[in-house]
């Protein structure tokens, strides 16, 4: 088996409790996950189960309490520079125009301005924002900002792409358009993707593999499903495929119990 693009080994994350007590909150416990180069993996789980924690560990933004992260076989220390991260919230710098937001990563890497701008324009066109180079984020709609964020992440040509519910704030139509766009871009480049979502339909429609996480605390993977639907896919059409329905039922059987557990815990809290 070739070396995983991103390997999480026995990750445990315990956060110190706010009141300074001894008992911390263990969000993730003994979680292991491997993503092969070129593989599109989705992680689904009930809300608040520590999906984002796992992603932040993979990004190197959060050091795990125990366990190890390996990127293409090398142990990760500090920020994962081979990864691009598309955040759930607003991550564009509001004082930069769309173009200069997209080129930020190149600028940080010391790419000459002219070359960065040329690439930036190209990427803006690719995500459907040609002609919007000089807009500031507040002058763009939510969908446009997500496109700009996508271009900002992908322009660096990362080998691992991490996405944290990137489209959860979008309306259904915009969302399906974006999902298809991401799939097209991914098909062209075939990078490893770790995609976090709470939407099972989205996970199945886009991925090669879906990993189900248990309800928190002490989240860990409890099921893995290979999605053997043919590609290229259209996220709207694939939902009517009988195999999609089968997979959905199989995964939902596992997920439902966790969702109920998570819900019960939140109600108690």
């Amino acid at each position: 088996m070739p070396e995983a693009a991103l390997l999480l080994e026995n990750i445990t994350c315990t956060f110190a409790s706010n009141d300074g007590g001894k008992v911390g909150y263990t969000a993730v416990k003994n979680a292991s996950l491997a993503i092969a180069p070129g593989e599109f993996v989705s992680v689904v789980g009930p809300t608040g189960c520590g999906k984002s924690t796992l992603l932040n560990v993979g990004a190197g933004l959060l050091a795990p309490s125990s366990g190890q992260v390996k990127v293409f076989g090398k142990p990760l220390h500090g920020v994962n520079h081979r990864a691009g991260y598309m955040f759930q919230g607003e991550a564009l710098m509001p004082w930069r125009s769309a173009l200069s937001n997209v080129t930020a990563g190149l600028e940080f890497a010391g790419v000459p301005a002219a070359q960065a701008q040329e690439q930036g324009r190209e990427w803006l066109k690719r995500v459907g924002l040609g002609g919007f180079e000089n807009r500031y984020p507040h002058q763009m709609s939510g969908g446009m900002r997500k496109r700009a964020m996508l271009a900002q992440t992908l322009i660096r040509d990362p080998d691992v792409i991490l996405m944290d519910e990137p489209f959860s704030a979008l309306d259904v139509q915009t969302r399906q358009l974006m999902e298809n766009e991401v799939l097209d871009l991914w098909m062209a480049k075939r990078k490893a993707v770790l995609f976090i979502t709470h939407d099972l339909d989205e996970a199945i429609a886009m991925s090669d593999r879906v990993v189900v996480l248990s309800a928190g605390p002490a989240t860990h993977p409890i099921g893995e499903f290979d999605i053997d639907l043919p590609r290229p896919r259209d996220v709207a059409e694939v939902r009517t495929n009988p195999r999609f329905v089968e997979l959905h039922k199989a995964i939902w059987d596992v997920l439902r119990e966790e969702v109920l557990k998570g819900y019960a815990q939140q109600k108690r809290a």
Binding site: N56, Y85, W95, R96, F108, Q139
Partner: protein
Amino acid sequence: MRFWQVLLLVIVLVAWHFASQDRNFAFFFGQPVGVAKVIWAWFVTNADIYRHLGVTLTETVLAFVIGTVAGLAFGLWLGLSRGASALLDPYITAANSMPRVILAPIFGMWFGLGIWSKVALAVTLVFFIVFFNVYQGVREVSTTLLDNARMLGANRKQLLRHVYIPSATSWVFSSLHTSVGLAFVGAVVGEYLGSASGVGYLILQAEGTLDVNTVFAGIVVLTLFALLLDGLVTVVEDRLLSWKPRAGETEKI
């Protein structure tokens, strides 16, 4: 609206004029015509205010620049360094609560009666305003923005330059209107407490001879220049913060 605003001013001036026909009233409140005459003499016939105005404005600008730069630097430093801010926190609170005008005589001793004692006093006023705003601004930079910049490969220096400083700048500007006014106040109060030139000195002199008209003329001139400085800040602000959404601005998609 402009018309009504001007009308209000005219009504007040006319009322003042007629009320000041009374000698007693005029003694305490001056006369608008007299005030205008003093201003005219200052700027045109005698042309002797320019030196004083120049001194006051120099002090203001120096204090404003020094205070802002120091506040920005210090605010960034403390905002980014948890240890330093924990150590210095009580002293900063104490220094800020101290009525700083009281420092004027000490600054007089340290820096003499020239412009630098006034600059020092005004700097103490400006510094804290800018400092607290930057400190707050740095602390409240969105973590998503920071994480995103880090994932895009920004090192510490680039984070400072591309995330912390632009983010703090918007906070600084919200404080600049206040601080430019305070720089002016510091300069004038400093002059008032001991000097040989400046508009504050002119006012002090006039008070010594119970020349109310000149006092009012000084106040009017100071007010006009304070408005002017404020206007300049607005111009610079509009230029530098063009990325900020304005209230009520429709978003053209």
